[in-house]
């Protein structure tokens, strides 16, 4: 799970391996905020799979690759 300069860099790094998923850093930031913003809350409770899947779906991260289980 890394940052890249461009698609060209991603493709070269993959070197023929099957690609995963590429999103913009803006989308990543939105995902990180939705996923992690409660981690230090004194009222934190574990996210269920359904909650986490809903976060992904809300951000348009759908399809087999983003299916959690």
């Amino acid at each position: 799970m890394n940052l890249f300069r461009s698609e060209e860099h991603v493709d070269r790094w993959l070197g023929g391996r099957p690609p995963g998923a590429t999103i913009s850093v803006t989308e990543l930031n939105e995902l990180a905020r939705a996923w992690w913003d409660d981690r230090l809350s004194p009222t934190w409770r574990p996210h269920s799979l359904e909650q986490n899947q809903a976060i992904l779906e809300r951000l348009g991260l759908t399809g087999e690759f983003w299916r959690l289980g």
């Binding site: 590429t22 990180a32 996923w35 981690r39 230090l40 996210h47 959690l68």
Partner: protein, 156 residues
């Protein structure tokens, strides 16, 4: 890397309290706490803390080394990584690029993220200001499908 926790009923209130104490100490110390340090706060013993940590590890609420010390309190990493974050007056290590942004989110502050492009090795610096990344041209690549993230969490 992202956590995919076990169902919430796996952990009881004591587990949650231990987890929250551990996270709070991680943030206040700027590093992973030792079992003795958590036991002092919990008015417990290191052995009880270590047993609780193992339950949290099984529930994916913490990641431990084989020896029982904390490896990850996601999004924070106890070990140095290629993803560093300056936030809240400290430098932190994140487990991956996702977690780097997650540290800013968890702390509720802006920050500076230092990473590098795995292809060319060039340093990548991203500022998070007013909750937005400074360079929207950057890309994030996730190689492992979501269902397999926990097959090898270190690789993911």
């Amino acid at each position: 890397m992202p956590t995919l926790e076990a169902p919430r009923d796996v952990l009881d209130d004591a587990d949650i309290r231990l987890r929250n104490t551990t996270y709070a100490l991680f943030v206040s110390l700027g590093r992973a706490p030792r079992a003795e340090e958590v036991a002092d706060v919990e008015r417990s013993t290191p052995a009880v803390v270590e047993t609780g940590w193992r339950r949290l590890h099984e529930a994916r609420a913490l990641v431990l080394y084989a020896g029982g010390d904390i490896r990850m309190a996601n999004p924070f990493s106890a070990a140095p990584t290629a993803h560093r974050v300056r936030a809240g007056g400290r430098w932190w290590f994140a487990n991956c690029a996702w977690d780097a942004f997650g540290i800013c989110a968890a702390l509720g502050v802006d920050g500076d993220i230092e990473s590098s492009c795995p292809d060319c090795g060039e340093a990548i610096h991203v500022e998070v200001r007013d909750q937005e990344p400074s360079d929207p041209s950057l890309l994030f690549h996730c190689l492992v499908p979501a269902a397999a993230w926990w097959d090898d969490i270190g690789f993911t």
